[in-house]
Assembly symmetry: C2
Homo-oligomer: 245 residues x 2
């Protein structure tokens, strides 16, 4: 390292060097796409719009937009979600980047997919630009860009995640019955589960709070309602060790 007397200006010089290096890098347009899963009528849904690109007219698209200068990817994801839906009390997880050079018809654009889960009823859609709507995941066909691939990857991500973390509770109302919970798991995992074993499983985890209320207005015997004990889960997050492949 070249030492010189003026420490501060030396530092400034180093930063200028770094800046010059960065300026020599190719620059790429960057977008974020939000894959927002919801659960409604016992079906897993995903929040989509009609593509606003004429070339994809009529095709469905994820909620996405460019990343602004000096904007964190995560902030971009939250901003986009807010702009497009009015929602701001959700969490978003980065899934991965999609970078095929031909994925965008307008030239090279790299996108980072963010995934989120939320309760459809809890979050009314206030903005309906571009026909924003919940679309059943199972009946998705062609989409704009590589968005079908992105949804597929995020769906697999979700299937895995929901077995390791109680993300599913974000898809349910605050108060829910065990049947609703089981429906959710069955819908996402695409399997059916034994009711008694399912109940035992969650009972033994001791993460559900019995709030001493019952379902209302159901055409059959009402079930008990529970809340999820997020605090307890956070305290006791399991450190999984096992080898299985």
């Amino acid at each position: 390292m070249k030492k010189n007397a003026a420490g501060v200006s030396h530092n400034a010089h180093l930063i200028a060097d770094a800046r010059e290096l960065v300026n020599s890098y190719p620059k790429v347009p960057l977008t974020v796409d939000c894959v927002i899963f919801g659960f409604e009528e016992n079906k897993l849904k995903v929040l989509l719009i009609k593509s606003d690109l004429a070339i994809y007219e009529g095709k469905l698209s994820l909620l996405g937009d460019m990343v602004k200068d000096d904007e964190d990817l995560e902030n971009a994801a939250y901003r986009i979600l807010k702009e497009r839906t009015g929602m701001n009390d959700v969490f978003l997880d980065q899934v991965r980047a999609f970078s095929h050079p031909a994925r965008h018809p307008g030239g090279r654009v790299i996108t980072i997919a963010y995934c989120s889960l939320l309760n459809v009823n809890h979050h009314e859609l206030k903005i309906h630009d571009n026909d924003l709507h919940w679309h059943s995941v199972s009946s998705l066909s062609e989409m704009a860009f590589d968005h079908k691939e992105i949804v597929d990857v995020c769906y697999q991500w979700l299937q895995k995640r929901i077995q390791e973390h109680p993300l599913g509770f974000n898809l349910l109302p605050e108060k829910f019955s065990l049947r609703e919970l089981q429906n959710l798991y069955e819908a996402i995992l695409g399997i059916s589960l034994d009711r008694r074993n399912f109940r035992k499983k969650f009972a033994s985890m001791d993460l559900l709070i019995d709030i001493d209320e019952m379902e209302q207005d159901v055409p059959h015997r009402p079930g008990k309602l529970y809340k999820f004990n997020f605090e307890k889960y956070e305290r006791n997050k399991r450190k999984w060790v096992g080898i299985d492949f």
Copy 2:
């Protein structure tokens, strides 16, 4: 969709529109950083260089470089690894993007981390630019940029991955003893495992091929050598279903 007589030129027009849109996006310099784990002397190592940025003189850095125009992120990762180490027969997995606006002193640069595992002895380092060397993961302190954070995230990624997929075998020689395998798992997971149970576990998975050879030149009773049955693993990849959190 506006129809017009000239289908092709209409399409060209749509592409021009898309191109215009993309051109309006801010552009960001993008890099890829490779986190290459290796295993040597019963320790988990990571491949590092000395940072070539003067401002980080003396600090350690990951193998990284800019992403070229029209280059897939994955291709960039493989290219960088090849350029820096001469290696080309490894696999790389995308871990995630790091996008803090101030993560690079030269201005905003987003990086995508790719992770890989390889057998230190199998891959001699032919290129030693910037003091390329294997560095113990456990004794890493400060690094250039946010590279310490990236290594930490990739290490956690590895710990999780190795419990679900037999990635660990990429870190071992083709022929290995059960002791070496166990050492690997213990080193990566940072726990100690019961020898008998460990052997039973792998025996019951039936993914090791007994090649009827013994260790040579060990100062104690030699152990049997095995190969990993990659084909069988690929055929029977487990579809894990379980809820545990």
